[in-house]
Symmetry: D2
Amino acid sequence: MSNVLVVYATDYGSTKKMAEVIAAGAQDEGAVVVVKAAEEATAEDFLAADAVVFGSPVHMGGPDWRIKKLIDTVTSGLWMKDALSGRVGAIFATGSNFGGAGGGAELTMLSMMNNLAELGMVLVPFPKHTPGYRDGGLQWGAYAQTHDKDMQPQGANEAQLAAARHHGANIAKVAALTAGKLSFAK
Amino acid sequence: MSNVLVVYATDYGSTKKMAEVIAAGAQDEGAVVVVKAAEEATAEDFLAADAVVFGSPVHMGGPDWRIKKLIDTVTSGLWMKDALSGRVGAIFATGSNFGGAGGGAELTMLSMMNNLAELGMVLVPFPKHTPGYRDGGLQWGAYAQTHDKDMQPQGANEAQLAAARHHGANIAKVAALTAGKLSFAK
Amino acid sequence: MSNVLVVYATDYGSTKKMAEVIAAGAQDEGAVVVVKAAEEATAEDFLAADAVVFGSPVHMGGPDWRIKKLIDTVTSGLWMKDALSGRVGAIFATGSNFGGAGGGAELTMLSMMNNLAELGMVLVPFPKHTPGYRDGGLQWGAYAQTHDKDMQPQGANEAQLAAARHHGANIAKVAALTAGKLSFAK
Amino acid sequence: MSNVLVVYATDYGSTKKMAEVIAAGAQDEGAVVVVKAAEEATAEDFLAADAVVFGSPVHMGGPDWRIKKLIDTVTSGLWMKDALSGRVGAIFATGSNFGGAGGGAELTMLSMMNNLAELGMVLVPFPKHTPGYRDGGLQWGAYAQTHDKDMQPQGANEAQLAAARHHGANIAKVAALTAGKLSFAK
């Protein structure tokens, strides 16, 4: 069993929905999951988690500023203390199909994964054999086109939600194998 | 007037086709354009160019190794001599719609743009108001989904080719304004 | 002549100092420069600028959240209108020498450059022949190690300030050549 | 116990030396390690490994083209078959202190990590509390400044070699916990 924290920023609810589906996937693997908006997550939430998942809409090619504020003002203190080293990290994002090339999803994902790496966390990828991958992601994490080619809202489709759920399950699997057992060199 | 060099790697011809369309767009703006496969481009080709455009299929999330070999073995010597400083650089890519999130297009583009930045080149973006953008690119450059969601070949569509052509025109516009006039601090 | 806007986030004043030095470099080339903290910059400031420079300390491997808040809440509206397309963009950063490998400077720079590319701006690199480069930057922009290997404050050194000043001059040179003359395809 | 494969490209031997030190660190944790030059690594080498480590000098801001050729021509086939999903991946790099900002180390590391993520591998970070980190790395992996601020060779120093060795140990620890036990959703 492991504890998973899913932290998201959301504008209209689509990213929150993805967070909840990832949480359900982690629960499928026996994890106890807490889902929090970025504005509400605390240092204690992170300290209680074996795995942390960040999720954000793509805004101007990067994560929502509320995610970055959380990282700068809350997790930076945990970084100073190496408090999350050896735990598990993963990410997901939402965006539009405008341009047909991800619309900045990759750098958005990397920006969040970057923070998890700084925290010393083992990073869970998004393997291409994941059910739903064809419609819902790239190597760094699950991705739902919640807006279409004309930037109009359409919500995540079934395949994208399935992909996100399996991503949550994968994260819980890694956490279950490593929780409390991984102590990196000091 | 300006001289533009377009260098590409191609497997089945789609990226070569995109290179030719970008060349046509640059010619629309009065540029003299040379199009070369990565295996054939020489230091002299680069030295004769006011603007350089790199294009590649997305392979395992990065540029084709032939592009990187060219950069390591040919342009690195020009970097040592600062020979291309103040000229113009831009990029494009091709890939599949598998995953619906760009499939690694962004890091592929950045890897190429990175090399152009190292060479001291002014970088031309791909503005969202470009005709065809809706189907063909992200902020770093033009992108054609030459393969579909199942990784089957489909070639670039009309919108993607239009986007690429306008990208070529934009590149030539920047080159026309700056060619021979931009001397960075030494 | 051109108008340059330099926008920074600062904690202890080092990044502000870098912003002022970049401004001085742009003035050396005849630019009229406005320097603003991220919290104070307005849409009007951006609209009045031929070139925009973003600068930030490296925080957890990315830009300060105040820079991202500005981008999400102010420049995103300009992106919707394509209001800054064809103008000039550049970036700089500050950080520590902890690790000896940039400490996250590159992704921090790319995150900011990313936003400028989204806005359709021509991007100014940081050529390796820039005076002071040996101590003060990488291909994407000027960088000052304002903190040492033990994360203790030391301020930017003379070489780093010289590099930043020349970066400002380079930015103004590109702006002078292109201001009001560059209209990308629509 | 786990099997670790370390694959490197090297010009003058410094990156090979780092590869050997990382191998020694993995052996410290009981791993059986194979070290191979990129030109010599085969699909069988990858299939026999529970963990794969890529290492490269920074060349023009990216990995050596021989690493990319290996990825495009050897591991791409394993990606098609999802043959390495659920295994462990990590990276390291070497470069110069020219510029004092990593000299392109971060994108070089990300380019390699990117390929490992595509393969569906769990990624091992480089925690800041690692002995030697102060001189030898960033969040993505170990890094040795084998060349100085003037790009002259100096080899990896003791702290950097220690950091690399501990990175190897960390990689083996993750592999030991997960080898043969991690089956991602299909």
